[in-house]
């Protein structure tokens, strides 16, 4: 290793860092600590506890992890389970899978189909939430919905998607909504591979799927990890499903972010809401740490 000499002396360097540190402190650290504090109280919007919130220790957390009614609809365990299914279904399988499939299908190709698919995917990604939610509610509607019109034209029965399959509906919605990100990430990762990689594999006798498994996937491994972690975090935290099913019916599509919102801003139990937020932060933190350490290991292996 070569010895690196710092360009700036320590005090000057700190001076340059100061604005960023103030910013981080004011907008990130302070609110986080504030939330942490609230989560240890019984603060509410109205009534006695609003004026004089009492310190309650870990009571809020104990209530969250009360295993007696933990999995009952409307409770935290149910929301967590829905979130896990939502993340696995829409982010890991849906967005990453679909994104990789599209990126691979159009690898080193151009033409009208590629342009069309990419444009549609990116559109789905950049349209404002409210517009998108309205489109999907219209698309999935029992009587007037486009999807049911298609299904019944094909001779299949109408399904009331938002009532009968609320979780599946938001999974499909979120897949559609976010696949563009993974697709773009993977297609730029693929574009960096020398064309000779695949050609050498073909000449060596590898079938296309063998080349994909042995050459392509390992070559874009670090991109895949980055993608999975980012979309896992985003999907875990997203609130847009609320605009489609509002977590219902009867909490069947209530994911953790919606649960938090309901407790904190519909029931106005700030203390308990803050406790859920803290748990969410911890889950995010754990995911980010796994991600960072994997990336570091990856970088060392090269």
């Amino acid at each position: 290793m070569t010895q690196r000499r710092p360009i700036l002396s320590m005090p000057v360097g700190l001076l340059f860092l100061l604005p960023a540190m103030v910013f981080v402190a004011v907008f990130l650290v302070f609110p986080s600590l504030w939330v942490l504090w609230i989560s240890l109280t019984n603060q509410t919007l109205t009534g006695e506890a609003a004026l004089r919130p009492r310190f309650v220790g870990l009571a809020n957390f104990r209530a969250l992890f009360d295993f007696e009614n933990w999995m009952v609809r409307g409770y935290f365990g149910n929301a967590l389970r829905n979130s896990v299914l939502f993340v696995i279904g829409s982010a890991l399988i849906g967005q990453a899978g679909l994104g990789l499939a599209i990126a691979w299908a159009f690898y080193r190709r151009r033409g009208i189909w590629r342009e069309l698919i990419y444009t549609l995917a990116i559109l789905a990604w950049i349209i404002p939430d409210v517009v998108v939610a309205f489109m999907w509610v219209a698309y999935l509607d029992r009587d007037q919905g486009t999807l049911n019109a298609i299904l019944s034209a094909l001779g299949m029965g109408r399904v009331d998607w938002l009532i009968e399959q609320p979780l599946l509906s938001i999974i499909i919605f979120n897949t559609w909504r976010g696949a563009a990100f993974s697709m773009l990430l993977f297609s730029s990762a693929l574009a960096t591979l020398p064309p000779s990689y695949l050609e050498a594999a073909a000449v060596a006798g590898a079938r296309p799927w063998q080349a994909f498994r042995d050459i392509i996937l390992p070559s874009i491994r670090s991109h895949i990890i980055t993608d999975l972690v980012l979309i896992t975090l985003w999907t875990f935290n997203t609130f847009t499903p609320y605009l489609i099913t509002a977590g219902g019916p009867t909490f069947r599509s209530e994911v953790v972010s919606i649960y938090t919102f309901r407790i904190a801003f519909q029931h106005f139990e700030f203390g308990r809401g803050a406790a859920v937020a803290v748990v969410m932060m911890l889950i995010n933190l754990a995911l980010a740490l796994v991600y960072l350490s994997t990336l570091r290991r990856e970088a060392r292996a090269r």
């Binding site: 000779s196 990689y197 060596a204 390992p218 070559s219």
Partner: protein, 361 residues
């Protein structure tokens, strides 16, 4: 091991005709070099043989099999790419063994065979490393080993030495030649370096702008280039070309500045091939020219333009009228800059090209 045959192969990319109606047979076990300047279609030709590019027209045979419509996987050939295309996420062992892995060989068998070729190529002690930890020459050997591990019908090389430094390139060159001769596998070798093609190949095909201009042994191509393009592409420095006019009555060639060269015994043959007063190109290799003491019927007055000592020989460039001529001299006391000298042109060694470029005599 097999013969490779291309029949009227053409490749068009949009408006570019990359390869134009190429017909060629490469014999079983032959080392064939495809030589030409950048962009002449060598790589495209090789890629069509490999199956990485589909010919627009024409057919390709490997052995007796028509492979034109077969994918690369089914052609049973091995190719070494210019960038070697070793996979950074695999060890050298895994890289070399990959052709066996995709054919579902047992692990132990793969290890045994990889070790065997690695011994031959002297990289057996590098098998646990990754490509990034190898030198250019070692990477090239690893790429060759990967091509060898599953014995192919033919070897295809696309400028495999161009990433190596000059010394390593010479080493790798003799190594490749030795290897090819001892294995006897039909080989097509693409290069733009005429010295490499001359040194390696049994036969050379010279290409220009998608067309195959001449096919022959290195000596044939060196001695009797079919046209001025081949003449000036082969040799270092290449053949000198002097523009002159044939004067039948005096049996001389007259240069642009009025100097005349007596044709001597070649006069009769030229009389049959050229009309009186017809312009032509006189071609002569630098090593056939010599300095003379004074004027003579086949001597040209010239002025020394540059002197480059090369060790055994000295490369002297002289200026005759507007043209420059290269001489390879093995004299102890080469001329000095701007000196007035006489250059003797041995007519029995000269080639005569028509104005359009094709060889006449």
């Amino acid at each position: 091991m097999a013969r490779i045959r291309l029949e009227g192969v053409t490749k068009v990319f949009g408006a570019v005709v990359a390869v134009d109606d190429l017909t060629l047979t490469i014999e079983d076990g032959e080392f064939f070099a495809l030589l030409g300047p950048s962009g002449c279609g060598k790589t495209t030709t090789l890629r069509m043989v490999a199956g990485l590019e589909r010919p627009t027209r024409g057919r390709i045979f490997i052995g007796e099999r028509d492979v034109t419509d077969l994918p690369p996987q089914a052609r049973d050939i091995a190719m070494v790419f210019q960038d070697y295309a070793l996979y950074p996420h695999m060890t050298i062992m895994e890289n070399i063994g990959y052709p066996l892995k995709v054919r579902r060989y047992a692990r132990s068998e793969i290890h045994r065979r990889v070790r065997e070729v690695a011994e031959v190529l002297q990289i057996a002690d590098l098998l646990d490393r990754r490509p990034g930890q190898l030198s250019g020459g070692q990477q090239q050997r690893a790429a060759v080993a990967r091509a060898l591990v599953y014995p192919p019908q033919a070897f295809l090389f696309d400028e495999p030495l161009s990433n190596l430094d000059a010394k390593l390139r010479l080493e790798a060159r003799s190594f490749l030649k030795h290897l090819q001769k001892s294995l006897g596998i039909t080989t097509i070798y693409v290069t733009h370096d005429q010295a490499e093609a001359m040194a390696l190949a049994d036969r050379i095909g010279v290409m220009d702008r998608g067309r195959l201009l001449q096919v022959g042994s290195p000596i044939e191509i060196y001695r009797r280039p079919r046209n001025t393009f081949v003449a000036t592409f082969i040799g270092s420095p290449p053949m000198n070309l002097l523009r002159c006019r044939f004067q039948q009555a005096e049996a001389v060639l007259v240069l642009g500045d009025g100097q005349a060269l007596a044709l001597g015994e070649r006069a009769e043959a030229l009389r049959r091939a050229f009309r009186d007063g017809e312009p032509l190109w006189l071609g002569i290799r630098p090593e056939h020219l010599a300095l003379a003491e004074g004027p003579g019927p086949t001597h040209l007055a010239a002025r020394v333009y540059a002197v480059e000592p090369l060790g055994v020989e000295t490369l002297v460039t002289v200026q005759v009228d507007a043209e420059r001529i290269a001489l390879r001299l093995s004299v102890d006391e080469p001329p000095v800059l701007r000196e007035q000298v006489w250059v003797r042109v041995p007519m029995e060694r000269a080639l005569f090209f028509r104005e359009g470029g094709e060889l006449a005599l």
